[in-house]
Amino acid sequence: MDTTNTVADQPKVDRSQMKVSDEVAVRIENMNKWFGAFHVLRDIDLTVYKGERIVICGPSGSGKSTLIRCINALEEHQKGVIEVDGTRLSSDLKQIDKIRSEVGMCFQHFNLFPHLTILENCTLAPIWVRKTPKKEAEEDAMHFLTKVKIPDQANKYPGQLSGGQQQRVAIARSLCMRPKIMLFDEPTSALDPEMIKEVLDTMIELAEEGMTMLCVTHEMGFARQVANRVIFMDQGQIVEQNEPEEFFQNPKSDRTKLFLSQILGH
């Protein structure tokens, strides 16, 4: 479904503010992954620079989720190199821990912890992983909750919030760990149309602040407005990548064209 309208109604985002540096944030080289005998990711090469906002799209089952889950070591890759902020992903637990504390992740289904309040959700990892004193962690959490515009919900439980609010809490929760990179896996696709906007707004704001972002999404309006690169994946491979304008107006590959017609067309 086309959401260009949605974002078009907004004041234009100031792209010039979003700077991309020369430092590498994520480097993926010749990465391959199998599920059993099924080859999900094939020879992925991708370099993400600090401050980049990358949108990944592609048909269902093309391996988008798997790719970003590999970056976070939620899935193990079997071949090739993944380097996050200079740390090479290996089976060493310390390194995995290091990478995870630098990479924030938001899921399609929010995955908030339903037995903890919003505030506890946000302070949990800082307290237990970063060993931040509770007080500090709570102040921090309130800061980010204010940023995603729900400071007043801090003492509620996730189940008492709407989907959009939950997703924003999930973003705030990740931010509390002060990640250098944020990964989003279809953050809006489980949301009712009314709520998509509030989440996208939050993400746009984040982008404006210069956060490095990798985002799997089909919100093409968001891609046009925020992304500095759009990556199209199919059958486990990166088929095409380009700046959004180019990508949408002049898709090179046939598969991309087909996909864009499906997703924008109906």
Partner: protein, 430 residues
């Protein structure tokens, strides 16, 4: 547009209809009877049939219940008094204490188990009713120590030392928690053991302080024994059950195999064979000279039994958690122990409470099996000393009926609670 019916289109309601009461068609008793008892001919027949059965049962039981005798001192005297119609409930009054406390618990001390029993309700409430303030969980934590002191007697220093040990362990654990879970757990255990060890001497020194008359384990009996076995074994089996469930979910094949073997083995054999083991063969497997109490051996076996079942319940709870919870925990950088403790187990346990309660009820009922290995729980009391005595030899219905009633009241209460909880969890899963 040509394809519409002009007359039916473009309608706007001006006046709104308010709520009206439903038509008063057929309300009252007649309607209820017709809908619920005689809705069709087969149902009518069934209704009449069950009324007949009900009448038969009541006409048999009621005179027996109402015409019963509560005061005679022996079966002969009772039989003369009731003249064949009523029951000899006198056995209950006369052996009341034995049925509840067994025959060797000192009769001057009956208030102790009674008090412990009452306290049980107060102290379990914080666990059972999620709405109570979580501070009241402290009561629950204190309860084992208080109950131990009340039931077994001896100086109060012993349970206090026990409590201090736990507290010391906890403090040590908290103090070192930043060094990793395994290490801090070890620190906690070491601290607790040190306190217990030192406290042991203190307790010996102060054995007279606030001392209650000590009672041996083997003097526990009657319904009290069922209660003790039930509560002790269920509480002990919870931590083991959790460990087994986690082990069974583990990706490490050897640990998984060990846990599966244990669980399936225990679940595959009847409890009675495990009790035989406790009673008959366990002694062979312990170092020569250790003679520990039958009740302790039985507690070990029943705990093993219950842990296997509870592990299965908790495994269900773990499986019911969406994978996203594990992943979210991972992606926040929590390690395995933290993820389990902070995220997974609190939720899985909450889901599992109804299942755990069911296991607990089943287990509590199964504690009657100890009567088969010559322990005098309430059934053992009936089958042994009471029915064997010259006075009450031959009073079956009253005694078994009483035992059945005791269990029914307890278990029905618990299972109603668990249903209530299930409904509550179903509606407010936040």
């Amino acid at each position: 547009m040509s394809d519409t019916h002009a007359q039916s289109v473009a309608y706007v309601r001006e006046s709104f209809v308010e709520q009206q009461t439903p038509p008063v068609s057929e309300t009252g008793v007649v309607k209820w009877l017709r809908e619920n008892l005689f809705s069709s001919i087969p149902y009518a027949i069934l209704t009449l049939l069950s009324l007949f059965v009900l009448y038969q049962i009541l006409s048999g039981v009621l005179p027996w219940l109402l015409g019963g005798n509560w005061t005679a001192s022996s079966i002969r005297e009772c039989r003369e008094l009731v003249e064949g119609a009523g029951g000899c409930f006198a056995v209950l009054t006369e052996r009341w204490n034995q049925l509840l406390f067994g025959f060797s618990y000192p009769s001057t001390e009956y208030w102790r188990p009674a008090l412990a029993f009452l306290l049980l309700f107060v102290c379990v409430a914080p666990v059972l009713f999620p709405d109570l303030p979580s501070k009241s969980l402290i009561l629950t934590l204190l309860y084992p120590f208080v109950a131990y002191w009340l039931l077994w007697g001896g100086t109060i220093v012993t349970p206090i030392v026990g409590l201090l040990g736990v507290a010391a362990g906890y403090v040590a654990y908290r103090a070192t928690i930043n060094r990793g879970f395994a290490l801090s757990l070890l620190a906690g255990v070491v601290a607790a053991v040190i306190v217990w060890y030192l406290g042991g001497f203190v307790a010996e020194e102060l054995s007279g302080v606030a001392a209650l008359m000590p009672v041996e384990s083997r003097d526990m009996g009657g319904f009290m024994l069922n209660m003790i076995l039930g509560t002790v074994c269920v509480s002990l089996s919870l931590p083991f059950g959790i460990l087994l469930a986690l082990g069974r979910q583990s990706r490490l094949p050897i640990i998984k195999i060990i846990c599966i073997t244990f669980i399936e083995f225990i679940r595959g054999v009847p409890l009675i064979t495990l009790l035989f083991v406790a009673n008959v063969v366990l002694a062979y497997f312990l170092p020569p000279g250790t003679t520990f109490d039958l009740i302790l051996r039985v507690i070990i076996m029943i705990t093993m039994f219950a842990s296997a079942y509870i592990a299965e319940v908790i495994r269900g709870g773990l499986a019911a958690l969406p994978r996203g919870q594990y992943e979210a925990a991972d992606s926040l950088g929590l390690d395995y122990a933290q993820a389990m403790r902070l995220i997974i187990l609190p939720q899985a346990l909450k889901i599992s409470i109804p299942g755990i309660v069911n296991v607990a009820v089943g287990l509590f009922k199964d504690t009657t099996l100890v009567s088969i290995i010559s322990m005098f729980d309430v059934v053992g009391m009936i089958r042994g000393p009471i029915l064997a005595s010259t006075d009450w030899n031959g009073v079956y219905w009253e005694l078994y009926g009483f035992a059945a009633l005791l269990f029914f009241v307890t278990c029905y209460g618990i299972s109603q609670y668990s249903q209530w909880l299930e409904r509550k969890l179903a509606t407010d899963h936040r």
